[in-house]
Assembly symmetry: C2
Homo-oligomer: 423 residues x 2
């Protein structure tokens, strides 16, 4: 997690800030689509116009950075092409169909009541994340698209970048006549402020923590409002006896190496004992050629002796790196048992040409996304066609899997009558 | 809340019991509809067959009861017609269409991926409630209908009744070949056991507390798993200047007196100043004739002087009794402001013949159910045509308003490919 920074006495209390967000949310609740779209487009323009200022703030953030891994620095860094990407993302979010007002259930009762269940904004969302300015823009855009107010709390290291981006976001809100309090950064910067924010039952409706395990644990421990977790992904790919061997290698390779640092990257490969002797040698060779370190069970090592032995910890590891655990299992039954024991429920897949076994896998694996003959890396809001995503939920309630704008809404029941009473 | 009872050393730990429920849930996750229906029908039959035994247990519970209000005793009491009602409820739940497997989203991507979002069971549900044996049967039936395992914790005063009902429920599960652990009563009966149960992140997926405010607060305070609240309802009916006066009286009377002890009963009536002189005298007369005590604002008392004055507390009161707060407001604007300030977001209605004002009310009131020209008492799973309801959610996430079996499911994404990878 980010190191705490001292609170400034000039800032509002967390509760005051949340109250203002609540008030903005009650306006956004019935703000027409046009105004929300206009705000998003104006934000995009303002970010483009203020590129120099934003890059300057980002350089200051980077200059203060010490002792952080290259990946951390990379995620914090803004460049002209990356800013163009943020502008494009906001324009794309503006073009998404409005989720608000969509009718999800509709019924006419025998007594003539007309009942509809329609999508409405959730209200006030708190987003707690790390030093990633792109999340600041995406989260602001997606929350506003769905009519929510959002309080953002990025990492301490990206504060200047986030403030510069917020300036552009506020310019966009002002241009569309929407309240500034619709998007704010949490003003008090100490840890206690986060603790207080996620405890404001009645003022904050949802917390989305996005980051490493310590961040998620901190939020979950202190939250008194609902939390949608975006937790670690120990994802599996099972190579069934009927798998096309070429496809199996291609999917394993893509799932592991396409972008190893993401939660939908492959962490454990399961191979049907029946075909282990044929599948494993070329597969391991291809993985090693791609720079992947393979850690295998004894049966794996019997087929490919140069593989390093896996320990019990490897089956629960989210490497987020070019490392892969490989285990030989007793057919589909063995794969299902392993997945039941070790999957974190984010994404698990099977490679098979057998329809019946595929169907059984799909039925029995209880994960947010279950894939047949496709790379786990495809579990993503963009790839699923949801537009942008605010994260991948590993929670089971409300939202599960890639979360698009629709998952940033709730519903209300609307009842039209002509004097009906209860008997 | 219920008074604590000492834990028996013979019982399993809460964690062991939850682990067994988890295992049952992983079987139920892919149990076909037929088996779940068969279990519900067999439970209904077993409850009918064991009526004498159940009534005997219930009499023992009632004999031990001291110092409780008549309403408490009434909710605990079982009679042959009430048992027939439980049997009928289970048979009706069995007939509800299966929510599991229903496709809620379906898309084919340009690369040929077939993506579906389907309904699946939530997993393990903990239901914490008071001494109401009918909730034991309804909750068991609804949870099982949607493929969930459930751990029930009713009030201490209904333990013998709940145990007798559980015997019949287990007979039903056995008849359909489903695991006993699919429905259990929390074995440890002390408060710490509830605290532990609602903290079992990873073993319990959802907690539904149903009861008075202390119970809800206790659960919310200790929960580490998602909670769906069934909280108090301070519901409003606004009589607009264009309301049909006869309809206004009829709706107010029904909403207040049909069953005053329920959360969807009317608590505050708002009257447009424009028509207060014409509406209030006959309305208050009708309410008083029905035995309702009216507490009014100064403007109300100017029109009907014999009304007792309302205090600030009355605007937040959930009377659950034949008492009604009445306030004269400055038109729709005044009604919206009052509702924004005092509604608990369960159900609020307007009586009007003006389409435009009705639409504005529907758009701006952010409650789980918003009604036009209908009694708030109609906000109910049965009245909405959802089949039985497990409660009325005042939470904003996952489920909002009357919760039927569909709200006892979550979704999973199922992806069928032919070797697709991420670019």
């Amino acid at each position: 997690m980010n190191r705490p920074t001292p609170a400034s006495p000039a800032t509002r209390s967390v509760q005051e800030q949340a109250r203002d967000a609540r008030q903005a949310a009650s306006i956004l609740h019935h703000t027409p689509d046009d105004a929300r779209r206009a705000a998003l487009r104006a934000m995009a323009t303002a970010i483009g116009d203020r590129q120099e200022e934003i890059l300057r703030a980002n350089r200051q953030d980077l200059e203060c950075l010490t002792d952080r891994p290259a990946a951390f620095r990379d995620r914090l860094t803004l460049t002209p092409p990356r800013i163009a990407g943020l502008v494009r993302a906001l324009r794309e979010i503006a073009e998404l169909p409005d989720p608000v007002g969509r009718v999800v259930d509709s019924r006419r009762r025998p007594d003539g009541l007309e009942i509809r269940r329609i999508r409405v904004p959730i209200g006030v969302i708190a987003m707690i994340y790390e030093s990633r300015p792109n999340v600041t823009v995406d989260a602001a855009g997606l929350c506003l698209r769905a009519g929510n107010a959002v309080i953002l709390r990025g990492g301490a290291e990206s504060l200047r970048s986030d403030q510069a981006l917020l300036g552009a976001i506020h310019a966009g809100l002002a241009a569309a006549g929407l309240p500034r309090a619709a998007v704010t950064l949490l003003e008090r910067r100490d840890y206690d402020a986060i603790r207080e924010l996620v405890g404001l039952h009645g003022l904050v409706d949802l917390v989305i923590p996005r980051g490493g395990e310590p961040l998620i644990r901190f939020v979950a421990e202190h939250a008194r409002v609902p939390v949608l977790r975006h937790e670690k992904g120990v994802t599996h790919l099972f190579i069934d006896r009927s798998a096309d061997p070429e496809m199996a290698v291609r999917l394993a390779l893509n799932a592991k190496t396409n972008r190893p640092s993401t939660c939908n990257a492959l962490e454990t490969l399961l191979v049907d004992r029946e075909v282990a002797d044929r599948i494993l040698p070329p597969l391991v060779a291809a993985l090693r050629e791609a720079g992947v370190e393979v850690r295998g069970c004894p049966a794996t090592r019997a087929h490919v002796p140069e593989v390093r032995p896996a320990t019990e910890e490897d089956w629960s590891a989210e490497y987020l790196d070019l490392i892969l655990a490989v285990r030989v299992v007793d057919g589909l039954e063995g794969a299902l048992a392993h997945i039941r024991a070790y999957s974190t429920g984010l994404a698990d897949g099977i490679v098979t040409q057998d329809r019946e076994r595929a169907e059984r896998f799909v039925r029995e694996v209880d994960s947010a996304a279950v894939l047949v003959n496709a790379s786990t890396r495809l579990v993503d809001g963009g790839e699923f066609g949801l537009g942008a995503e605010v994260g991948i939920s590993t929670s089971r309630l409300h939202a599960r899997g890639p979360m698009g704008v629709e998952d940033l809404t709730t519903t209300k029941w609307v009842v039209w009558g002509s004097g009906q009473v209860r008997a």
